[in-house]
Symmetry: D2
């Protein structure tokens, strides 16, 4: 058993009285237990003489930054995700209306907006211009990919007198935020850097739920119904749906359970075969099913089946990452070939709805989650916490060190109830 | 002025009393005027001594087929379209509940279901199994492309004792229906062949509105909003939406007006240029717009810009038709190239939602249209009409000879109020 | 045969060259025929020596008002309706971007906004503040009921130098617009008054379709499905849905056809009985149906069954109109009583979704309709037409005198194909 | 600190080998910790020498009931809730496809379907007839209110040879299930009784989330937007939305956060005043807001403000419960009166969408939750557990004794982050 470091960096002692109401406060001593298994908890207690737990998020009686002298900046980076505008709205409202921070900047187009070379003017956010943005998808700030030199960024923060920076973005963005926090530390500045983790794939470790994921699952319903209709609309029809999920198959798995007409769900975590008789042989399961039922629906996560691509031929993106091969298009070809080989004319209809899923507005309980996440981010920044993200664990909001949250990716456990549920509803072989 | 032949073929004199209620009937003499321009009407009257008009659809007092001896068959062919199940439900209900036809077959997978080689069993339709199909997209019968030998089909119709065949499909399907009707005529059989024109592109001549089109337009809203969000979400973002419209741009034009965030709408009927300074030069309009506004949304119909493809390299489908080059992907490349050339990094997000638009269930007034269209098809069949489709013109349902409806495609008139409205809202050059 | 007066009042001869493109123009001579029945057309021709026809809407080469000296005002009055913001946006864009009218006012809260007593400041509309209003329901201008003294209003128009007034509203609003136009005429002013007829009930005469109606029908789908689910969810469950339709049953009839799970559709145009054995006896049809099928869905328009209320007890509104009795609640009671009488426990679930239907944004082809309607209203105003509304007839936009459009209400013809279709799908007695 | 009894009753030792795959199993020793606060956990450990924890749900290697000799019965009772059909489908699929239980009955209309007096025939469920029911709201089984004599029910279970009864329902239904389980115990029968807790109000104790709640929140979005549109559409417009929540305000609170245009949220847990100057005086906050902003949106839970009703005049339902007074209609009156008193004409638009919210189909992650809940219920029944419900706690599915789950209602803590978030966004006084 390895000990995990849940400790959060602080800019200094909170000495300013919070302007919030008395009833709102959380005590500093409150924590959120990491494990929910009593046996494990007792073992930790025995081994470390304390329980592994997150710092609990929430407003405190005493805060670090003086609201009336504060200037906050918010930026969004990476791909779109439902709920970005909810987060921006809630950050703005909490800072301006509750803490009475006089200036909240909206930085344009991610970190680029903090690099003077790009000459992007920041927006000045207030309750008027964020009032109904929660009903729109996308981000009113714009976004961009890739980080900027942290020295340049800290120069800009200093020049603009910003003492709180909120970075809404994924893994790469959070690593950028960490570098900025380190640079700030090196210069001994009093600037809080708070990350709000964005990953439509829901694959951030130490966080049980990321914003936008829920809405993304809701919006897969229509495309899977369409795939089902197209599959049934032709003899030997196959509806093939390519969903997001570069490293983790959460979207594919949840989407398959949410609209239980899916017959095969392929994810990065579990390999499959294509007509060589290996384990989970898609073709050898699909062809008999088509002969018997005349249609099938397949959901495939973009990171699944990467072993079918020649790594040497894969494309490299700007940051030097290896790009995934397009497994959706490969499957489309392979299934057609299988039809020729096995003597049935298979009609494959291919769906790639990714942009349509990520650019819708968040709704319902997902909006509530965005809103509260952002409130807690504002509280953490006011409290002088830095180099951390707001997380969620076992029904509570938490403070998580950036380093911990980006240490590895969350993946679907093949033995989990989630994945066993998917298997139970999909592969016909599984039941027999 | 050329005289148009609106006359409809009949199997014979109606001699059977309709089982419908007295109040329901339409008089045989009722017609629907073709032109709505008084000047043109008077000219026709002068030249032909009669007014160009359609036969009006509706139930008649006396019918040709004896309901209690009748057997009907329904088939769906070609690509999916919203409303197919509404049409199937309404045909079944009208034939079985109102005319008391004892047997209504649902033929599987288009014309293939009438070719014994395929061994597809027909469904027997009744009010139980069609009860809630109007809430589902697709077609419960399945569909297929391509026609079958009309002799084989008429053999099947005779063997199954079918005296009414309803063919729901597009241009090709209707030509197939005409060939079947001709074969029936040759053999002097009493089988009505009634077409129900399906074209999500709304491009059938002599018919002002085709079923499913309205729902298709409604379902473009989300994808265009997504494209807008993606475009605004990146500096110099372009949301590029590829919509249906092989020969006519109705879907693209209506979609652009329905969600008026579209900046360029490209249709087959009007050519455009790509950076050669010709008329409607997309690149030379887009680049300055991006510099000024930082984002743009483009809607392109699949049949637009075909002049950019080398005809000799185009693919040919099974029926020998030349397939369109993929203008969406071409534009994506050209726009990126333009970015390099003009020194701005353009972020193109490409959307191709076609299956998602055509496989949704019809709703609202579009469902009402499907329902009434099918009722009128049933009335026409019972009346002994044949070799015709049910049309709609100037607020009334009509009988249209198949030959007339397939004689040419309806296209957007460049001088029409529709197209001028699109231009007025899109190309920035147009206003100045 | 009575001759209808389709002539439109003009402020004067058009002498200003339109700034629009050459290709856009409609010829003054273009008309839209009123009847679509050849027999009737020939008879008119014989009797009046001309054909009954509307003036066709559209931009003209020469216009009356000089755009650069113009000031327009737009107001919305009466209850909400889908599409109000589309109309406001399209009016603003057409006037400002195409005609280059320098000032377009948005008048607050209907006619009250033109009465200085209320001290409502007008908005100044431009392409920025109307940019995305088409995605929101309601009206950005606000609305109010009731007219104001036309003398006061014309004083205000004079004081503000307004030469074009657009009144978006129903019957009452249009009568108010007529009074204003008359007052303007009396004072010999050059102010165009153009009405844009708003009626979610689709009940304006001489106009085949009113904006918002289509969207309203789309949005009834969910409530009728809910009623169906509730009805099936209890033994002898009845889902009772009260829909709009004060004098005409178009919404109830279309909604019943659009989601064909409705078993009874009650409208103002056809009376029915409640357990006295009269014609269309709802109770005596419903009770046996419940015994056999255990559930039923009833749609009732608010103006149906008013004969069951004692006129002397009806409420009177501010304008002296007799308010309808609430037929929905009455039916709820009567059905429960019938259960007691006939010994079955009937579970009635009552739905009254009216505000939810009228306050949604317009979508799809309905948005397109709003947009083009408003464009034509702008063209008509620039042309110097006045005291008229923009209508739609047989696929074309038309000019209709206000007096004609308010002369009577459009109602469902009981012999029409629309109503016969509803009957064919609802009352079980109808089929047998 | 009181010790909570989490122990679950078993019918006997599991001795049958489960037919499920090896990888699926959960170990008997696995538990789910109750508290997530380390301090509390340590205190429990000290006081009770063990940790408070739920038994973890999931399939076990050895089970109690022999699948091939089993007969299951499923019933739904109480009001509709999104997801009922998902639960029915998933129970049926898990029992029939995975455990190979030969017979699964769907009992009609709740407990009444187990009372022979009602003569309701059960449905026989299989994978065909449950295949697409997850896309429909309501329950295919029908429901009813009220319990039946447990002796009669156990007689029926014995007569039908049922050894697993699944009761999907709320508090009352679960108490009924407990009574049945007690009667079974008394007779020493081997019948598992498993409850699946249904409460759209999300108010069951010891369960952090109940199925259908999430979908309910999603479906409040439209009605709150409508209320906002209506409020802004008139001068001094108030959109007043009456939502479910008899004893707990979770729906009202989440709905207010999910579509953050709400200005006042009233729940049963916090009292308010009406113009007497007491704490949370709605009228004295609303009137100034209307004067300044001209519109407001109010959300009120049905159980709020019951102190304004005279208990002696409240209605009593069949079971002797006191029915709530209609606070929505009361507020409507009071607000109008306040307008008269304070001299502004307030336009109140009242919305009561309850049936529309509860009768929609579940979607997205809520459907996934239903599906997994039902799988775990099937596992628990096969394992011979009884007199328990399937719960969910801190990201895991749990076994909860019925007696514990019905011991008290979950309510909103006024000091919770949830409620403080609502306050922070609503009452204007709260910020100042």
């Amino acid at each position: 058993m390895e000990k995990i470091d849940f400790s959060i960096r602080c800019l200094g002692e909170p000495r300013v009285k919070s302007p919030l109401k008395e009833a709102d406060f959380v005590e500093d001593s409150e924590k959120v237990i990491y494990s929910n298994d009593p046996a494990e908890i007792l073992e930790q207690q025995k081994e470390f003489n304390e329980l592994c737990a997150f710092e609990k998020a929430g407003p405190r009686r005493m805060i670090y930054h003086d609201p009336s002298w504060s200037k906050a900046a918010i930026l969004t980076a990476g791909g779109l995700c439902p709920g970005l505008n909810d987060v921006i709205k809630s950050l703005t409202m909490t800072l301006k209306k509750r803490y009475r921070v006089p200036v909240v900047y909206g930085i344009r187009y991610g970190y680029a907006g903090l690099n003077p070379d790009y000459r992007y003017e920041p927006l000045v956010l207030d309750d008027e211009n964020v009032d109904d943005i929660h009903c729109d998808g996308g981000t009113i700030l714009g976004s961009s990919r890739g980080n900027q030199d942290e020295k340049v960024i800290v120069d800009t923060l200093m020049r603009m007198d910003i003492n709180m920076l909120f970075c809404i973005g994924g893994d790469g963005t959070l690593r950028g935020a960490h570098a900025i926090a380190e640079e700030i530390k090196k210069r001994k500045l009093s600037i809080s850097v708070i990350g709000i983790p964005k990953t439509i794939d829901n694959d951030i470790s130490f966080i049980d739920k990321s914003f936008g994921f829920e809405t993304a699952i809701y919006s897969t319903h229509t495309v899977i119904s369409s795939a089902h209709n197209e599959a049934k609309g032709a003899a030997n029809g196959v509806g093939l749906v390519h969903l997001m999920g570069r490293d983790s198959g959460f979207i594919a798995a949840f989407a398959s359970l949410a609209n239980s007409v899916v017959n095969y769900c392929l994810i990065p975590e579990e390999s499959f075969s294509l007509d060589d008789g290996g384990p989970n042989d898609l073709i050898r399961s699909l062809v008999p099913r088509l002969k018997e039922r005349k249609h099938a629906v397949i959901v495939v996560a973009e990171g699944a089946g990467q072993e079918f691509f020649d790594v040497t031929q894969k494309m490299i993106d700007k940051s030097g990452n290896v790009l995934n091969g397009n497994i959706g298009l490969l499957l489309k070809e392979k299934i057609k070939e299988a039809g020729d080989k096995y003597g049935i004319e298979i009609n494959v209809k291919y769906f790639d709805p990714s942009y349509m899923i990520r650019s819708v507005p968040a709704h319902g309980t997902d909006s509530v989650f965005c809103l509260m996440l952002a409130q807690h981010a504002a509280h953490a920044a006011m409290l002088g916490r830095t180099d951390m993200v707001i997380g969620h664990w076992n029904s509570a909001f938490t403070h998580v060190p950036i380093v911990l949250s980006t240490s590895k990716r969350k993946k679907i456990e093949l033995k989990s109830q989630l994945w066993r549920s998917v298997l139970a509803l999909t592969w016909p072989e599984y039941q027999s």
